[in-house]
Amino acid sequence: MFPAPFLLHAPDGFFSVPVSVAFWVVTAAVLAISVREANRSLEERTVPTLGVLAAFIFAAQMVNFQVAGGTSGHLLGGVLAAVLLGPWAGSIVMASVIAVQALVFQDGGLVVMGANIFNMGIIGTLGGYVVYRAIASLGRGWRWQLGAAAVAAWFAVEAAAVVTAFQLALSDTSPLNVALPAMAGVHALIGLGEAAITVAALAFIASVRPDLLQSRERAIAAGGEGHAGGLRGALRSGPAWLAAGIVASALVVVVLAPFASADPDGLERVAIDHGFDAVAKANPYEILPDYTVPGLGGTASTVVSGLLGVLLVLAVVLGAARIVAARRAARLQREEASSTA
């Protein structure tokens, strides 16, 4: 009945109000960009298409396969949506899926919905897409693209789990040295299922209806070299996507570094080394926040540290957005040049 990985659908009450509000703000800002970009690039037919494909993501989350001992693999669908629809439309579709799951099925809360959309809808689509394009730009051929999609799908689930663990820790709901290894460990496995389903689905679509894939993927699937710009286009766009990917993965490394040393001392040291001492200050076992009176100090530092981490991710996403816009402008110029010639 509630097929998607339930540990990522946080109910109300598990994230503190400051964390929930901070992530609502960030989610709303990113989705506003998505709406603008999607409205600009898609035509009127998107009205039914996005809705039906949101229902598709919901139904696709029902498709499972048995792994072992009664457990089964599921799809979350962020990277699949981003590759099939583009990252902007993909994030709108995922946000709609999460909203309907919360409103109709109470699968995930309302006040915490901003954080849930951020974890599954924004990291999954925009973050996953940056990883996908960064890796895809390094190699050629359809198999390489599928590999890139696999890595991106795994990354999207793992990153969502890691961010959820941090949100739980910032909310004082679960200590970081328990939540982070547990969430990261479980979702490293769940991510493999996500990667397998995503790749198999893309490969199937490419062989049956290659015309449904976005132009670039379609061209590569047909054995071509990518878009018309050829080598020059690749040189122009490749490094930028690569840079975005490096920033994204550096972020993951910073986030995952404490995971390597599970003891709390190591955690704190890494936090201070990387200038995340604001996060450490908000940690439950550092300063016990005064719970009975909503102390401004503790709350404010939670908000600040939550925003800090989130702003980093946002910077990556915005960087990607500018690159997309530049690419689109360049393509329009090329098309104009070729039509006048």
């Binding site: 009945m1 339930f6 540990l7 659908h9 109910p11 109300d12 009450g13 503190s16 109000v17 709406v35 999607a38 009127e44 037919r45 009205v47 039914p48 298409t49 996005l50 809705g51 039906v52 494909l53 949101a54 229902a55 598709f56 919901f58 139904a59 029902m62 498709v63 396969f65 792994v67 009664g70 693999g73 799809l75 699949l80 709108i92 579709v93 909203a99 309907v100 409103l103 109709v104 099925f105 809360g109 309302l110 006040v111 739980l168 709901t173 200590p175 328990v178 939540a179 299922g193 397998a196 389903i197 198999a200 689905a201 490969a203 199937f204 679509i205 049956v208 449904l212 719970y291 009975t292």
Partner: protein, 267 residues
């Protein structure tokens, strides 16, 4: 027919059902926010919030305990908060000696855990009550009236319309797979990789069917005079009584919150 219950709406003739969806949505979100802001150990306040749900559910002619009974499905997530019982420093309640180390249960940890679990349980009940008493298309209209971007509102409403269709499509494909690949309890045919690939192909096939359906839907809409935008049902301004209901709910929730922080005893 769909095996999924796609709507929790339970039609009744009640003042709660008759209330405008915008008012109900805002009050439900404010209620959940108020519950989330309660201090740790405020079990008396949480009980008051729960009683308010039971009262409202009774007033909606659903029976006072229907939301309470049906809110258990959110409980698995409490696993995420369980470690608090052992890690929060404080007065030791008791300790469990295990082979290598000892698990100490602190009073503070137990209180924090029970607070999170009970808050979440009451919050889920509020969301359930909203879904029981409000048809989904009214909720979508409410979201539109609350100025959510059109692309979201139309995506959500189209998604809801095709949810049952695509869920049916998916369950038919899963049934076909079960019939063909010898699925027995706990064991099914093929290697793990093969099973994953089959699941992925089902997802791919589902996407193609969904996309083709969306094209047919679009053609049908064009044939009926669609011009690129969905014209919403005209939304009327809130009546004075509805503003009064909103103000009353806000005042009640604010004074409840203040009382919970100042007077109502917490553990």
């Amino acid at each position: 027919m769909s095996g999924l219950a796609l709507d929790r709406y339970l039609p009744r003739e009640s003042p709660i059902h008759a209330l405008d969806a915008r008012v109900k949505f805002l009050v439900a979100v404010a209620f959940i926010l108020a519950v989330s802001l309660l201090p740790a150990g405020a079990f008396a306040s949480i009980a008051i919030a729960w009683a308010a749900i039971a009262l409202a559910s009774g007033a909606a002619k659903l029976g006072p305990f229907r939301p309470t009974r049906n809110a258990f499905f959110a409980l698995p997530f409490v696993l995420a908060a369980l470690p608090l019982v052992f890690t929060r420093p404080g007065e030791e309640l008791f300790s469990l000696p295990l082979a290598v180390f000892t698990l100490r249960v602190s009073v503070e940890g137990l209180v924090a855990f029970l607070t999170i679990a009970s808050k979440s349980w009451v919050a889920v009940q509020a969301a359930l009550l909203l879904a029981y008493t409000t048809p989904f298309h009214d909720l979508v209209d409410a979201l539109r009236a609350l100025r959510l971007p059109t692309i979201f509102v139309t995506t959500v409403s189209f998604m809801y319309r095709y949810l049952a269709v695509l869920s049916d499509e998916a369950s038919r494909m899963l049934r076909a797979r079960a019939a063909r690949s010898g699925s027995r309890s706990g064991r099914s045919g093929g290697s793990l990789r093969w099973r994953a690939v089959v699941a992925g192909r089902i997802v791919g096939a589902l996407f193609i069917r969904a996309y083709e359906r969306s094209e047919r839907v679009y053609q049908a809409m064009l044939a009926r005079g669609f011009e690129g935008t969905v014209r919403p049902r005209a939304s009327r301004a809130l009546r004075r009584r509805e503003w009064a209901a909103l103000a009353l709910a806000a005042a009640l929730l604010a004074s409840f919150e203040a009382a919970a922080h100042l007077w109502i005893p917490a553990v």
